[in-house]
Structure formats: structure tokens, C-alpha cells
């Protein structure tokens, strides 16, 4: 049985797994600036590590949401996250925010590492209909535009306005009706006062011509 492991096919697999494990281990020790550089170049907007990570300064450090500030349970979850290469897992890495976890859960770590060479492809591979912050702009569009996919008040202003306007049509219509009715009513009230005043004037004139 043991000899079977060292047969051609299995040896190949073993070697690859070892290489991947070692290289991915060392790669993981650094954050992935290729994506940030791509976003800044493509959208022209400044973004920081908080786009995908839990801490705005990235995963390295001893602050909240960084590697040096994890409890035992969180460290275990981090190890689990780092070693899951295929999509479909339900990970909750403590150094990633919901968008970062969404990426790893949907793509898997292997695919994500491949995308480091072509960050623009991330927009093609993520699901197109996902909108994590519910602002009406899909996450992939926010990725390309450099607006944060978890902040509902961050997005292309025109698109946000359109989505919010559609969502709030009934209150806007009712408020418009109230404003128009109120102004119409006030107008007639004021006219009523003006006419009544004219009447008083006329009466006064009649008494003292």
C-alpha cells in the first residue's frame, strides 16, 4: 500500500500539495496589495484595506481585526480560513469583513490567489447579483467603481439616487400631495383674508365717503 503512494500519479499530487502549502503559507503572511492598486487605478478613487479587511490598515498588526489581536477561537477560525482552498465553505475569517469573507466563500482561496495576477477578473468571477449592503449597486460594480460594498451610503451618487428614489416613491408622492394641498389651501386662505379685508374696506368707505 505504501508503495502505491509513491507511484507516479500520487507523487505528483503530493509534491504539488507540498509546494502549494509552503508557497501559500508564505504568501498569506503578506496582504494582497494588487487588488488595492487595481481599484485605485481603475476607479481613480482612494481606497484602503478596509475594503476587504476588518481593519483599515490591513491584517498585519496588533490592532482590532488584525493578526496580533485574536482570541484562541478566532485564531482557529483563521487557520481554517487559510487552509480552505475550494469555494463553498462557510468561513468567517476574523481578519476579513463580510465582503472579504464573501470572496473567499464564493471563489475559494486557490482561485483568489490566481486572480492576484489579473485583479480585474474578480469582477467577472464573483456573482453578479450579490449586493451585500443593499444600496442597489451590485458588489462587482462597486468593486470596479472603488465604492465600499458594505457601506450603503457609499456608491456612485447617481445610481444610489435612482435606487433610493424608486424605493421611496410612495412617501415622496404622499409628501408632494401634502405640500401641494397645503400650499393650495394656504393660498386660498390668504385670498379669503384679502377678500374679507376688501369687504371691510368697502363697508368702511360707504360709511365715510
Amino acid at each position: 500500500m505504501k508503495s502505491k503512494l509513491l507511484n507516479c500519479g500520487y507523487r505528483h499530487h503530493l509534491f504539488l500539495a507540498l509546494v502549494l502549502f509552503v508557497t501559500s503559507g508564505t504568501i498569506q503572511l503578506r496582504a494582497h496589495p494588487e487588488f488595492q492598486q487595481f481599484i485605485v487605478k481603475h476607479s481613480g478613487r482612494p481606497v484602503n484595506c478596509a475594503f476587504c479587511h476588518a481593519n483599515a490598515d490591513g491584517p498585519e498588526g496588533a490592532g482590532l481585526g488584525q493578526i496580533g489581536h485574536l482570541t484562541a477561537a478566532e485564531q482557529a477560525e483563521l487557520v481554517r480560513a487559510r487552509t480552505t482552498f475550494e469555494p463553498g465553505a462557510k468561513l468567517n475569517s476574523p481578519i476579513l469583513n463580510a465582503f472579504g469573507n464573501h470572496i473567499i466563500n464564493r471563489l475559494g482561496k486557490r482561485k483568489f490567489l490566481e486572480l492576484r495576477l489579473a485583479p480585474a477578473q474578480l469582477a467577472e468571477t464573483l456573482p453578479k447579483d450579490s449586493d451585500l449592503d443593499g444600496d442597489g449597486i451590485p458588489d462587482v460594480k462597486e468593486f470596479l467603481a472603488g465604492t465600499h460594498p458594505l457601506i450603503s451610503s457609499d456608491g456612485n451618487p447617481w445610481l444610489l439616487f435612482r435606487a433610493n428614489f424608486r424605493r421611496n416613491l410612495t412617501p415622496i408622492a404622499l409628501t408632494l400631495a401634502a405640500t401641494v394641498a397645503g400650499l393650495w389651501g394656504l393660498g386660498h386662505l390668504l385670498h379669503g383674508f384679502a377678500v374679507a379685508a376688501r369687504l371691510k374696506d368697502d363697508e368702511a368707505e360707504e360709511l365715510n365717503p
Binding site: L64, T170, P171, L174, T175, A177, A178, T179, A181, G182, L183, W184, G185, L186, G187, H188, L189, L190, H191, G192, V195, A196, R198, L199, D202, E203, E206
Partner: protein, 438 residues
């Protein structure tokens, strides 16, 4: 079987009869298309009966018609939080108004001698049918509430099915008896329409709403003056009424939309346990950050030396941040000569924090307005918006026993030993300005 007749056969019979008999009456007996008003015979009770009856029934009918012809708009409107309650309340209130008015009208028709003289059997049948219909409708609304909502999924498709010759009984097959009675009453009223005074539905003088006031010219002075005053009074009364209606409408709409939201704003949120925990955690973190900052301030008040980092952590091309005695950011590098290079990182232009990466020319950059500062001298480059250099900060290297091995005050040469081997054992500290270190 009976249901099929009552809810498909009867409606078609009623509608066809109404249309044909209605046309015949219009062609052959045009003058009978009137409301046969008995106002000249008895007008006080008529006011108290006819006005509430008509206002009430018209509002209720309008609700039925909007729900029938614009079900999507109706559903959308009812989704607004207080709209449902307002509309249901308005419906019940107007029904009660209509019932009261109709009651007075019935009383009048039966007891007034003059009116009795012009009453026909058809009149009595109509008035009884109407009363029954509205009472049954009111009872339905009260016993199975929010009919304005569920009607769009049941009665409205049923009617449209009839209208498009695609009748579907299943919509109304399982209705309670009260509703079925109400539906039946409606078909009977439609059936009777061309045979009774209900024909006056087609004789409503709608054009009166837009008709200009008639100009009457009196030929006596007194009447003329009186007429002028009366016109102005009427005009002002009209304006006040319109004004009151507009303002009341606006206030009603605003109360509908804004009152609940304002109340909720001041009531505040009631987060669930999970949200509450997250909020408290966030608050705790922020408090922790403030506590840490106060700790730093206290440290700088008390101590003459503030630790930055161990000598081995210093790099030539990337600085380590620290907070100096003025609570401003600073950077520590390892100089080419192996000695620490400690300067302020607060840009002298507008105070942004300068970056820690050293470029190939030995400069660090401030990202706000792109000034480059040499880490050796602190001088900005020629085109930089910053004109003043980054000031150096006094430091000391202290070994494991607490002895100061080397130190440097800003602008002065290094004091103490410069032996790199010795220095490698030390930690870098900041020295308090104005104090001498031993």
C-alpha cells in the same frame, strides 16, 4: 349550482337588463331621468338626510371603485403604515354617516304627508334595498376587517372576470354569507337601476363644479349694493372653505406619514439582543481606544524616557511610527551609520502624517500635498508645498540594565558610545525635551 346562478348568471342578467332598459328609458322617456326631488315639499329633514347620505355613500363607493380599477395603486397606498387604518376608519365613519342620513330619509318618506303624496312603491323598495345593502356592507367590514386589503385579491379579480367574459366563481365561492349577501344586493341594485329613481346616477350635474357664477343685475340700488356685498362674502367664504380643505388635507397627509415616524424617532430604536451586544462591543472598543490615548498622555507626563522599539527592529528603508511628547506622530529609522534617525512625522505644511516608506533618494513622502522630506536632514524638496524641515527628536539608547549607552539631543552631536555591537543590545527611547538623561 345555486352559486353559479347567483354569482354568474344573475350578474350578467342584471347588467344586460340595466343597459337595455336604461337605453330604452333614455330614448323614450328622457325627462324621467331625474332625481324626482321633493325639496319644494319638505326641505329641512331633506338636508339632514340627503347630505350625510350622499356624502357617506359617495366616499364608500369611491373606495370600492378605486380598489376595483386601480388595484396596484390601492395596494401600494395601503402599504404605508397608517394609511390602512385611516382608510378603514374613513370607510366605517362614512358608512355610519350614510346609514344615519338614509334613516332620516326613510323616516321622512314614510311620515311626511306631502312626501307621501309623491312616493311610489319603487321608491320604498329602493330605499329598503339601499339600507339593507349598506348595513350588510358595514357588518361585513366590521366582522372581517381590512377588507380594503383582501378585496384586491378576491372581489376585484371576480369582477374583472365577469367583465372580460371569463367568470371565475372560485374567487367568491368560499365567502361568508354576509359577503355573498352584499354581492347579491349590489347585483339587485344594478338590475333595478333603470326601473327606479336610481336612474338619477346618470343625471348628476357634474358641470356645475366648473360653471362660472351667474351674473345677476339688480335694478334697484339697495338690491345692487346688497348683491355686491353678498358676492364678496360668498367669494371670501369659498376661499376660506377651499383653504380649510387644502390645509386640512395637507395636515391629514402629514399626520399620516410623519406622526408615526416622528414618534418612533423619539422613542428610539429597540435593537434585539444580538444588535445590542454588537453596539455595546463597539462602544467598549472606542472607550478602550480613548483609555489607551489617555494612558499615552499620562506616560508622557510622568516619564523622562518613552520606549519606541528595540534596536534590532529599526530598518533603513521603513520607519516605525511612535507618538512623541507632543502627542504628534514621529518616525524612527536606522541611519546609514547604524545610529537611530528619529524625526517628527507631522508634515510641516498642514499637519498630515508623513508616510513611512523611504524612497531611493532617502526621502519619505507626505500623501496630502506630495512633499518629500529627506530623513537625514528633514528638509523638504524644492517643489514641496512644505517649506520647513521636519524637526529631529531627541533619543536615547538604553541597554538591558537601564544604563544610557548613547543619546542625542536635537541639533547636537551624539553623546556616548557609537559601538554598533553594544548598540544592538539596546532599546530606543525618546527623551523628554528640556531634560537631561544620565
Amino acid at each position: 349550482m345555486v352559486d353559479a346562478f347567483l354569482f354568474v348568471g344573475l350578474p350578467y342578467m342584471a347588467m344586460v337588463t340595466a343597459v337595455i332598459a336604461g337605453f330604452r328609458r333614455l330614448r323614450h322617456n328622457r325627462f324621467s331621468l331625474s332625481s324626482r326631488s321633493s325639496q319644494f315639499l319638505e326641505d329641512r329633514q331633506l338636508l339632514w338626510g340627503s347630505a350625510p347620505w350622499h356624502i357617506g355613500i359617495l366616499v364608500v363607493l369611491m373606495g370600492h371603485i378605486i380598489a376595483g380599477f386601480l388595484p396596484q395603486v390601492w395596494s401600494r397606498l395601503l402599504a404605508v403604515p397608517n394609511a390602512l387604518i385611516t382608510i378603514e376608519t374613513a370607510g366605517v365613519a362614512c358608512s355610519l354617516l350614510a346609514v344615519a342620513g338614509l334613516g332620516v330619509l326613510i323616516y321622512r318618506r314614510i311620515t311626511s304627508a306631502r312626501v307621501q303624496a309623491v312616493t311610489t312603491t319603487a321608491d320604498l323598495v329602493v330605499v329598503a334595498l339601499l339600507m339593507a345593502q349598506i348595513v350588510v356592507g358595514l357588518l361585513s367590514a366590521l366582522s372581517f376587517r381590512y377588507g380594503s386589503v383582501w378585496s384586491t385579491g378576491t372581489v376585484v379579480p371576480y369582477f374583472w372576470g365577469l367583465a372580460t367574459f371569463n367568470p371565475d366563481l372560485t374567487y367568491v365561492a368560499d365567502f361568508p354569507m354576509l359577503f355573498k349577501l352584499h354581492l347579491l344586493g349590489a347585483w339587485f341594485i344594478i338590475w333595478l337601476l333603470p326601473f327606479t329613481r336610481l336612474m338619477h346616477l346618470l343625471a348628476v350635474p357634474l358641470h356645475y363644479v366648473g360653471r362660472a357664477p351667474l351674473l345677476v343685475v339688480w335694478n334697484t340700488t339697495r338690491r345692487r349694493q346688497h348683491a355686491v356685498a353678498a358676492t364678496i362674502q360668498a367669494e371670501s367664504r369659498r376661499e376660506f372653505l377651499k383653504g380649510a380643505a387644502g390645509v386640512a388635507g395637507a395636515t391629514g397627509l402629514l399626520a399620516l406619514g410623519v406622526s408615526e415616524k416622528t414618534l418612533n424617532f423619539f422613542k428610539g430604536p429597540r435593537p434585539d439582543a444580538e444588535a445590542e451586544t454588537a453596539l455595546l462591543q463597539k462602544k467598549l472598543q472606542r472607550l478602550q481606544q480613548t483609555a489607551d490615548e489617555r494612558q499615552l498622555e499620562l506616560e508622557r507626563q510622568r516619564n523622562d524616557l518613552i520606549v519606541v522599539t528595540h534596536y534590532s527592529e529599526l530598518a533603513e528603508n521603513k520607519g516605525r511610527y511612535f507618538i512623541d511628547y507632543a502627542m504628534a506622530p514621529g518616525l524612527a529609522f536606522k541611519g546609514k551609520d547604524g545610529l537611530p534617525l528619529v524625526i517628527s512625522a507631522k508634515c510641516t505644511h498642514l499637519g498630515c502624517t508623513v508616510g513611512s516608506e523611504v524612497n531611493s533618494e532617502g526621502q519619505i513622502m507626505c500623501p496630502c500635498h506630495i512633499s518629500y522630506f529627506s530623513i537625514q536632514t528633514g528638509q523638504p524638496n524644492a517643489e514641496a508645498p512644505a517649506k520647513l524641515p521636519l524637526p529631529p527628536i531627541g533619543w536615547a539608547l538604553v541597554d538591558a540594565t537601564g544604563k544610557v549607552v548613547a543619546s542625542r539631543k536635537p541639533g547636537q552631536p551624539v553623546a556616548g558610545s557609537v559601538d554598533t555591537a553594544l548598540l544592538a543590545q539596546c532599546s530606543l527611547y525618546l527623551t523628554k525635551p528640556g531634560r537631561d538623561v544620565a
